[in-house]
Symmetry: C2
Subunit: 517 residues, 2 copies
């Protein structure tokens, strides 16, 4: 009776449906943090943006209930009624307070029973978050969280209609993360989470958070959903989803708003630095940056928080669309260019190539031509697979002379006919080699890249050609080549082929005019 | 009595205010094309998106008026009343029909008098658009347009309250564009436009259109506004604005809608390929892609057209914000990564460096640290100027030993003190050299780049260092150096310095742990 169904994969990311007592949630999804004490933005505001799910803090609710005497009476405090929200409510356990203040005055049994009593849909056990601490302390947090996880199993039923979440600890110590995930995967929790990335998120070390995720996902059971705590920067979404994160939560939208920070699709800007709103959300349609600056702070915070939630929402929609289209790698490459921290993020997820490759389906509806923009585009599993097939498994037809020649277009090839004794194998940046009979398939049929091509991509192409020449000689395949001076990549390949002693003829140069094209 | 006031510059782009009879327009601005005959989207829809300006076709209006007998009576047909729009109305002259059908059955005087009579705010004379034609035909279109422009001056008053627009012709023949612009700049028109890019826009040859703009802008009077016809792809906006285009018009929003094409901030997608809307506009908030697919075509077209207009609007807001922040170059580099055609667009505008450099103010309010992402980031005039100052004008303090050392941070330097006889000159990717006393200024004080750095950027840094070493020897400046093995760029610079015979010591390597950071 799985409450998580995966509908589509791309890299290690997925589009799934999480069934909870209060309705189904399509993932990847974001849970806005609602602080029961500070309502700068109302539940209705959050619903209006389009969120059917929120997260709140069971510990803070408990303290509050204790004061009013409701905490000891199960069922007296219903979290849906209390917050006036009939959607999906996730409750964190108080672990964040444990991280901030070192200790909380309540034990796990109390908190778990309280989460049950108030009707939480997705409930986190009382973990011991790691934070950015010494190795010894990190190890202790792993051990204590696992101990709590085992203890909790005595008082919860993992098959009841609450989705219980077990956090993975270990922080930046990846061997500890691995151990935590390995041990956790033996426990029958229906959902996991990656614990305490907040310390690293705050200093924009997405790369560390992503390594924590990648390490955990390498050993966690892939069919169970994984939550990432405290990740509310939209720029980390495509990377975290690529490694297999299904849900996120954060208070960033309101914390940023308190600090007059305005989220955009490509980073965060101080409101005072804005003269224009590059956004079509209801807030940005109605007001100018100056209007907001001149408002009373409470009003400005609410509006900025609403805007920030719209950015978060549409960022995840973009990630979901990229999964549907088979373009998630293209999206991470694009986002990697926005900021130094996202450039590092791309390198970080690249370490988990095997993880990402293993879940990428080789075909799906809506798969279109791949867009190739820089050397990082070749790390796309969809490209890597093709390339490695050509270089390791492909055999040209026998008794023909293979002619290596530059592909004349940067938009894919369609031909399939082989004529005479001349067998054409195209060389082309990014994809490497395309035997003419492999034209018309994915990804050879349709792709686009821009001229001029980066040096790194040219060097890569030269290496591919060199490998093929070596293989041809080993296998005794006859080989000649052609090159063109018109494109630098072809010229450099031609020079290399000549250097390797392959008979290479130079194609005619087209006479250039003085026209703009 | 100029009707165009420029409020801010960045590259050759500007934020301006165009005063018309029907109100002021902040530029860069976009005029949605309204076809008087086909109203798939209403004027109120266009207003609701936030457009205070539209463009329509005087020739088509004239034909219509002729039929109803209103055309011959000046003032009988008022274009504002006819379209039900009290904002700014620009009228094209029928040139597009001339381009499409080779000829139109009306002479320039008739059209100009008609444009006057109907109360057009911004009116185009009857030009002869070039299109993608032979050189001979292109030359004819230049000559005929100039002849019309001179003729028109006899019947219009360029100082009256209509803003008369003179189109520049020549198409892809840049010498003809230059001639057209040169001759046109001698005529006292208050506004120019770049004629007939449609043929190139349709095949996404933004680079050709941009070369036409750059060539024209090099000779057009900079204080007069320039319109670009038929450019409704948001991805060309930052590039065209960077070269000095102030206003745009297009029917793309509705043409795309008819073809079920959905604009995004990073390109256009077929509606059927979308499962999610990565947008917060009123259409995308209310409907899903499937909802739209299941609607009757007219309703779907209207909604898609509205959405497309929101994308166009916010794309221009983003460009304006980039001008305000001094980040327009950063924006073009970012957008250049989205598509092959925008990569070519970046190369195309780079040819007009002098034009872009000459209008970029060295300081402005809101100027923050520059973000450096690839070798193209160094083509930013704000970076180039700094680099060329260090390499050609800078002199280190006398009687001190200059120590070239890697800048230990990728986020700018603040120090200004010089101690002892050791004078530190930092080397760093992208910016090149930073003498310690130049720390704390723009752009040295704040900048960000990501590790690892591209090969092209490393090669560039090596060239900068090599140039400085040569200059030091010529001038007799004492020089030693330091390098670090921890960063590849520093290691490669260190090796080059050793090769050049500069005394280079290697900084200690930090011991690495197994942690994620």
């Amino acid at each position: 009776m799985s409450r998580f169904r995966i509908r589509d994969f791309e890299l290690a990311g997925r589009i799934g449906v999480l069934r909870t007592r209060s309705g189904s949630l399509e993932t990847p999804a974001f849970f806005p943090v609602v602080d029961p004490a500070r309502q700068e933005i109302t539940i209705d505001d959050i619903k209006e943006v389009g969120f059917k799910q929120i997260i709140t803090n069971a510990y803070l609710l408990y303290k509050r209930a204790l004061k009013s005497g409701d905490g000891s009476v199960p069922g007296k405090l219903d979290v849906h009624r209390f917050l006036g929200f009939d959607g999906i409510i996730m409750t964190d356990s108080g672990a964040y307070q444990l991280l901030e203040y070192g200790n909380i005055d309540v034990d796990q049994n109390t908190i778990i029973n309280f989460e049950k009593a108030i009707g939480s849909d997705v409930a986190v056990i009382l973990d011991h978050p790691t934070g950015d601490v010494s190795r010894r302390e990190a190890e202790a947090s792993v051990v204590e969280t696992l101990r709590n996880a085992q203890e909790a199993l005595k008082i919860i039923d993992v098959n009841d209609d609450t989705i219980w979440v077990l956090p993975i600890q270990g922080g930046k110590y990846l061997d500890l993360v691995r151990r935590s995930a390995l041990e956790s995967s033996k426990l029958a929790y229906p959902m996991y989470s990656i614990g305490s990335p907040t310390a690293f998120m705050e200093v924009y070390r997405y790369d560390i958070v992503l390594k924590m995720i990648g390490t955990a996902k390498e050993v966690l059971p892939p069919e169970r959903p994984v939550h990432l705590f405290g990740a509310g920067h939209p720029l980390i979404f495509p990377f975290a989803v690529a490694l297999g994160v299904d849900t996120f939560d954060s208070a960033s939208y309101i914390l940023y708003a308190r600090d007059d920070r305005y989220m955009t699709d490509y980073g965060t800007v101080k409101l005072q630095d804005l003269q224009y709103f590059p956004c079509s959300c209801p807030v940005c349609r109605k007001y100018t940056p100056r209007d907001l600056m001149e408002m009373p702070p409470e009003q400005r915070r609410r509006l900025l928080a609403i805007h920030n939630l719209y950015v978060i929402k549409r960022s995840l929609e973009r990630v979901k669309q990229a999964i549907a289209e088979g373009r998630l790698w293209e999206l991470v490459v694009e986002v990697s260019r926005y900021r130094a921290e996202t450039a590092r993020a791309l390198r970080a997820i690249s370490r988990y190539y095997k993880l990402m490759d293993s879940f990428t389906p080789s075909s799906k509806g809506g798969l279109r031509g791949v867009r190739l923009v820089s050397i990082e585009s070749t790390w796309n599993p969809r490209v890597m697979r093709y390339r490695s097939w050509v270089l390791t498994s492909y055999e040209p037809p026998k008794d023909m002379i293979n002619v290596l020649t530059p592909l004349p277009t940067s938009r894919g090839c369609q031909e399939v006919s082989i004529k005479g004794s001349r067998h054409v194998i195209y060389y082309v940046p990014y994809l490497g080699l395309i035997p003419s009979e492999a034209c018309g398939l994915y990804p050879t049929a349709q792709f686009t890249y821009a001229e001029p091509v980066d040096d790194a991509v040219i060097r890569d192409l030269i290496n591919v050609v060199r490998t093929f020449v070596a293989r041809s000689r080993e296998r005794g395949w006859p080989l000649t080549a052609e090159a063109s001076r018109r494109k630098r990549w072809s010229m450099e390949v031609g020079l290399e082929l000549s250097r390797l002693g392959v008979d290479t003829s130079w194609l005619d140069e087209r006479v250039h005019g003085t026209r703009a094209d």
